[in-house]
């Protein structure tokens, strides 16, 4: 449990340091920008949490994110419903295929979803003229889904919060959630106990793909266009957020709270770098890497302290 709190503690620490060091850090505007921009990664990371707890990995989410966005922008000319159904349908099918291959053939999720990463981006390039065609969102109802505001925060933030709550309940309070933990802990033992291994695996990959597609669609609504250069390396951000949130990369343990803290932590680190405002791009990477190392060390110390007490 304390493992998950490592990210939260470092997050709290950084927020305090940031507020003291920079006048413009703890402002409503800056906080809103961190929360709003984090919400899209958070949606993807929620799906990734299920996948990683089940002992798998999903590298295709960055490509599904950009495909979802392009399809949503394209679909928006036919109305709100198509703008959502098209990306969710396409991403759902990709997730289903990946899940079936992983569950039925026992192939490594790393390889299957790596193929997904490449194939899906190729598909996106194919429907957007090698990425040169940017479909614009002309449908105001769909655009407001990404741009509408309530209490200074855009709708995607509330959608993310709702999804996180549902995911928490699913993971902690349902038989499906227990199955996910059981498979990640010990797949053979889970199968012997009668856990529907294949079905559970397929479900987590479909969920992950659907959430990535949804995040892409919401982002397209926010940007009013199906930008084609998005999502490169996004899968690594999502995996990083999940892991620094305390979910074990080997599966079997972890949770949504930690993941949300992990996503916010990445956002806050970025925001602090922007507050400093004169680091070169190379040095920015060094700083983010150093902070992530700090989180891992903090987690280690916390879990040691827990075992001793």
């Amino acid at each position: 449990m304390l493992q998950q709190h490592g990210a939260l503690m470092v997050l709290a620490l950084l927020v305090i340091v940031g507020s003291v060091a920079f006048d413009s850090f703890a402002t409503a505007g800056n906080a809103a920008s961190v929360v709003v921009s984090s919400s899209f990664l958070a949606i993807i990371a929620i799906g990734m949490t299920f996948v990683i707890i089940s002992g798998g990995i999903d590298l295709s989410v960055g490509s599904l994110f950009v495909l979802g966005g392009v399809l949503a922008a394209y679909g928006s000319q036919y109305g709100l419903l198509v703008a959502l159904a098209l990306p969710l349908g396409a991403c759902g099918v990709v997730g289903l295929l990946q899940g079936l291959v992983i569950a039925r053939t026992g192939m490594a999720p790393f390889i299957v979803t790596l193929a997904g990463l490449l194939g899906v981006r190729g598909l996106m390039l194919a429907i957007s003229g090698e990425g040169a065609t940017t479909y614009l969102v002309k449908n105001p109802a769909f655009a407001s889904l990404g741009q509408g505001e309530l209490l200074g925060l855009t709708y995607p933030v509330y959608i993310t919060a709702a999804l996180a709550l549902v995911a928490m309940v699913l993971l902690q309070r349902t038989g499906f959630g227990q199955n996910v933990y059981a498979i990640g802990g010990n797949e053979q033992a889970a199968a012997l106990m009668g856990v529907p291994v294949a079905r559970t695996k397929v479900t987590v990959y479909v969920m992950s793909a659907l959430l990535a597609g949804l995040a892409g669609a919401l982002n397209a609504a926010r940007l009013s266009s199906g930008v084609t250069i998005l999502g490169i390396g996004l899968e690594l951000d999502a995996i990083a957020a999940v892991v620094i949130g305390g979910t074990l990369l080997t599966g079997g343990a972890g949770g949504i709270t930690g993941t949300v803290a992990g996503v916010l932590l990445l956002g806050v680190i970025q925001s602090l770098i922007n507050q400093v405002g004169n680091l070169t791009s190379a040095f920015q990477q060094v700083v983010s890497g150093a902070f992530l190392a700090l989180v891992v060390v903090a987690q280690r110390l916390l879990s040691k302290a827990q075992r001793l007490s």
């Binding site: 800056n30 920008s33 990995i57 655009a143 926010r222 266009s225 405002g277």
Partner: protein, 353 residues
């Protein structure tokens, strides 16, 4: 368990290699501060629409004490971006602008949107943006408009309305660059042959206009030249090399390569060297004017380079100051670019970036 460790190791390797594709160290540009400075093509009397502080609806402020934000799009890992960021920083220091905040989106468009929003949240009163993509700026434009923050975009355009969504655009005439590159290519091939295009990254006006300018000119002036291959090299050296390697496999009879930036042209040179070609057998024309490319002309590998000047600092702040002083600003400020060929490459090395 072992498999997982292996996978993890592979993932780490992949990340590391993705991070390690930075530019090999270059000799630091030692040109004097005014050498190679940008020159506006038509300084006054342009017919296009203009914009004043009143029309825009902003308030006058002092640049020196204001917070100024600069959002760079790509890592400072290629000469163009290095020179661009340096020019903005140097000019700000020269003018005594104390609160310049620089962000870098590292080629991630989502990050650039967040970067600019955070610059606005930090109280930036002027934004200079080098956009990664031309579309998708809605959230930024809304916030900037609400606070009446003028935006100057440099080198690439934002698809929006000048004077209301953003103030103005400063950059080259990319269509013209494409046309001039075509003229050089026609000249090099005496009007006939097969040409390949290494396209820039998709989704921005630079790639589109450099392509259209080149193709239109070829069609108009040299019907004997066919464009038999075009593929994106994403403005990156290694991608340019990779695409050229495929090109010489699939089109061994190619006569010329038009690379839409120098990095891709240099990648193409590496590929041609690897395939055992002699310098100058395949004519390469590219756009940018980086030091390595101009050196490439001197070495005989490149035929000609059309300049695209990245030193935006002086012109950006001069435009901002004029605007704040109440003068009318044109909706686009087009700079004039030189070109390099064998006649001037050696002498111009000091001015290249």
């Amino acid at each position: 368990m072992n498999l997982r460790t292996a996978c993890l190791a592979l993932a780490v390797l992949l990340t590391a290699s993705a991070c390690a594709k930075a530019e090999e160290p270059q000799s630091a540009p030692a040109a004097t501060s005014t050498a190679g400075q940008q020159v506006v093509q038509s300084p006054s009397g342009t017919a296009g629409p203009t914009c004043t502080l009143d029309q825009f609806g902003g308030k006058k402020f002092d640049l020196k004490t204001a917070t100024v934000g600069f959002s760079q799009s790509e890592k400072e890992a290629n000469p163009f971006r290095i020179a661009e960021t340096k020019s903005i920083k140097d000019e700000a220091a020269k003018l005594g602008i104390a609160r310049l905040k620089v962000t870098n989106a590292q080629s991630q468009f989502s990050k650039q949107i967040t970067d600019v929003q955070q610059l606005i949240a930090q109280g930036a009163q002027l934004l200079v943006i080098a956009p990664l993509n031309s579309d998708g700026w809605e959230p930024v434009l809304q916030q900037a408009a609400a606070k009446k923050v003028p935006i100057i975009t440099v080198d690439r355009k934002i698809n929006a309305k000048a004077c209301s969504d953003y103030l103005t655009f400063i950059g080259s005439d990319f269509y013209e660059q494409g046309k001039r590159a075509a003229d050089r290519m026609i000249d090099a091939l005496s009007g006939k042959g097969k040409v390949a295009i290494l396209l820039g990254a998709p989704g921005n006006n630079v790639t589109t206009e450099r392509t259209n300018g080149f193709k239109d000119r070829i069609k108009e002036k040299a019907p004997g030249i066919t464009i038999s291959f075009e593929q994106t090299g994403e403005f990156a050296r290694e991608k340019g090399q990779q695409v050229t390697e495929q090109l010489i496999q699939s089109n061994p009879d190619i006569n010329g390569i038009y690379a839409e930036n120098d990095e891709m042209a240099l990648g193409a040179v590496t590929a041609l060297k690897g395939a055992g070609k002699e310098a100058g057998t395949i004519k390469i024309v590219s756009v940018d004017g980086t030091r390595s490319a101009v050196q490439g002309i001197a070495d005989g590998w490149l035929h000609a380079v059309i300049e695209s000047n990245p030193r935006f600092g002086p012109l950006a702040f001069e435009t901002a100051q004029k605007f704040l002083d109440g003068q009318a600003i044109p909706d686009k400020v087009i700079i004039s670019d030189r070109d390099y060929d064998t006649s001037n490459a050696k002498d111009s090395l000091g001015e290249a970036y």
